[in-house]
């Protein structure tokens, strides 16, 4: 955070300016490059790996639909991490917020079947998903705002609590009776989101994700509220002088982040899986952290970076089955460029100051 703070002083160093949008591009490029040695180390053909990666998402209409389906939770949870990040906070709780949001959406989607056939009824379980995620984010936000407890620690703790809470319900009182494995019942078909295309099955939840990302992008980067949150992230002292309350800012940013991650879970549940099982999330909450950090918290940049991660996740299955390259390689492809970009940004901020331009 302090490196950002230092950047906010705007000294005129001799280092060339880099437009904000260049960092995500660099990150994605590094991520693609890092794949090559990892494939080679596993003893597989590198060109073949890249070919399979593209084939998975762009080789067929079906694959393209899967790409977009993967992208929905990544976009929404990614935005849910990016908003607090810009306010100077780290939301590592996306996994729990996503799961609790999905659970809330499915619970409402099963219990509120009376209103399922009303047009636009899907809004109700999605609102429940937002509330579910916001509760988790809000707890972390309140502890940060008024008890000074590091939000990284609380959001991680809440992940475990949310996962166990949902497991308790779907293995016990909310378990679908006719299944051999533990999972919730399916939501009423009236709540399920539509798919477009006969082969591609492009989920309507993509539209929801894009619309929400656009709205939050406007809020964070164009509106007064967003300006206040971003000032808070750059320099809490400056924010306080501008009349921004650090406590309410932290609480609001983490609550909004949680709500967005919750909607990510709800959109995945209503648009794809229709129920919540033990393996609901393959780790979207953690991929989303890499997405938001590579996008450097810019909400508009989260969308393409999330699509890129969906592209990696989609291809990882083929890499595993065709070339025996373990799918967890994707996590490394997320983390490595985060470190490299952070090092370059930190080094630049430091050297600008050291040139004596402050």
């Amino acid at each position: 955070m302090s490196a950002v703070e230092a950047g906010a002083l705007r000294p005129t160093g001799r280092l060339p300016r880099v437009p904000e949008g260049a960092w995500p591009v660099l990150g994605v490029a590094l991520s693609m490059l890092a794949l090559a040695p990892l494939v080679a180390m596993a003893g597989a053909s590198v060109p073949e790996a890249y070919r399979l990666l593209f084939e998975a998402s762009f080789g067929s209409a079906f694959g393209f639909g899967v790409l977009l389906t993967y992208a929905v939770p990544l976009i929404l949870v990614g935005v849910g991490v990016a908003v607090p990040y810009r306010a100077g906070l780290f939301n590592i709780g996306g996994e729990g917020q996503l799961l609790l949001g999905a659970f809330a959406a499915v619970w409402v989607g099963v219990r509120a079947d009376a209103i399922a056939d009303v047009p636009g009824s899907f809004v109700v379980p999605l609102a429940a998903a937002a509330v579910g995620g916001a509760v988790l984010g809000g707890i972390a936000g309140a502890l940060r705002a008024w008890r000074d407890i590091n939000e990284i620690v609380t959001t991680i703790m809440l992940n475990f609590i949310a996962i166990l809470f949902v497991q308790y319900w779907i293995a016990g009182p909310f378990r679908a009776p006719d299944l051999s494995f533990a999972a919730s019942p399916d939501v009423d078909p009236g709540f399920a989101l539509a798919h477009f295309g006969r082969v591609a099955r492009i989920p309507a939840s993509v539209l929801i994700a894009l619309a929400l990302a656009g709205a939050v992008g406007w809020l964070m980067h164009r509106s007064r509220v967003g300006w206040r949150l971003r000032v808070l992230g750059l320099s809490p002292a400056l924010a306080a002088r501008q009349g921004v309350s650090p406590a309410w800012g932290a609480f609001g940013a983490l609550t909004l982040g949680g709500a967005l991650a919750g909607v990510g879970g709800g959109a995945e549940a209503l648009g794809n899986q229709l129920h919540v099982g033990f393996g609901f999330s393959p780790g979207w909450g953690f991929d989303a952290v890499a997405v938001a950090l590579l996008a450097r918290g810019n909400v508009f940049a989260v969308v393409p970076v999330a699509l890129f991660f969906a592209f990696l996740r989609n291809g990882a299955g083929l890499l595993q089955s065709e070339l025996d390259v373990p799918g967890t390689v994707v996590i490394t492809l997320g983390g490595a460029p985060v470190i490299v970009v952070a090092a370059i940004v930190g080094w630049r901020a430091y050297h600008r100051l050291r040139k004596g331009d402050v």
């Binding site: 008890r147 308790y168 996590i331 930190g346």
Partner: protein, 299 residues
């Protein structure tokens, strides 16, 4: 009850060791968010070396050395290159999680099952009812016990500790009085990594006896909570780690006793307790002032 004391030691020791590593870094002004990744990397190589039939002692040494080397590398990135400490730490955790999972898949799961390190029964002390379990443990646990007072004395009672804390509380002042802040922080990060290495090695050699994907499962982040609850003091960390591990052991206890409680409720207890304790104690805990801030204007 005896079972509960024993499980508290085995479950708590990795948390305690990682927390000691984290607090040494934080006291020197670096927020080491890579505890999780450093532990996981060490757990992986320890299991790999031990699983291929080599001596457990060698596996332990290699695990600790790798932890120290990775800690130093992470330290170089955040201290010398001035990368954001939280972002870089999270990035390291992701890289290690992905790489260990990848190597685990490439090498194959067969080579990662290890033996258990020898248990040592302290004559006399081990006969005490209940608490005797504390002295009938894998020998590495005694190293952990010893590190707590050692760390406390070094941090609070030696000149080295004063210089460390000066770097953590007021780096410019430390620099003005002749402390090489960058070097101090690099050393602290190497020690921090080595302690995480010890934590990861303990986890494998004394608890799980094998490596599985993501074997640390968030313990490095829990160690961060342990540091906060322990108010950046080694003895406090001991207490917080013991509290967490005790609550975690209740899960096994409930299963062994066939208590009619929802399993998930018992399993959530340590996390809920930690949050509650943090909420109650939060205001009184203050991190070192320079924590997370790169040294900007000096060299």
């Amino acid at each position: 009850m005896e079972l509960l004391v024993a499980s508290t030691v085995v479950l708590g020791m990795p948390l305690l060791l990682a927390a000691l590593g984290g607090l040494i870094a934080e006291r020197t002004g670096v927020l080491n968010l890579g505890l999780e990744g450093l532990m996981l990397a060490a757990a992986f190589v320890t299991a790999w070396v031990a699983g291929s039939g080599r001596p457990l002692g060698l596996a332990l040494v290699i695990g600790v050395a790798l932890g120290g080397a990775c800690g130093l590398a992470l330290g170089w990135i955040v201290v010398v290159a001035r990368a954001d400490q939280v972002v870089t730490g999270i990035g390291l955790n992701l890289v290690v999680l992905g790489l260990t999972g990848y190597l685990f898949g490439v090498v194959g799961a067969d080579g990662f099952t290890t033996g258990a390190i020898a248990e040592v029964r302290v004559p006399g002390l081990a006969e005490i009812p209940w608490a005797g379990q504390l002295f009938d443990q894998p020998w590495l646990a005694y190293v952990g016990y010893a590190l707590v007072p050692i760390a406390a004395v070094v941090i609070f009672r030696t000149g080295l500790g004063i210089r460390m804390r000066a770097c953590g509380e007021y780096a410019e002042g430390a620099r003005a009085s002749g402390v090489d802040v960058v070097r101090a922080r690099l050393v602290a990060m190497a020690v921090s990594g080595a302690l995480c290495g010890l934590a990861g090695a303990f986890l494998v050699l004394a608890d799980t006896h094998k490596f599985v994907h993501n074997v640390t499962n968030g313990r490095g982040y829990i160690a961060l909570a342990v540091i906060i609850l322990g108010r950046w003091r080694p003895l406090g960390a001991l207490g917080a780690a013991a509290l967490f591990a005790y609550a975690q052991g209740l899960d096994l206890y409930a299963q062994a006793r066939d208590l009619d409680l929802p399993l998930q409720l018992v399993q959530a207890l340590p996390y809920a307790l930690t949050l509650l304790a943090a909420a109650v104690l939060g205001r009184r805990a203050r991190p070192p002032a320079e924590e997370g801030r790169p040294l900007l204007l000096s060299r």
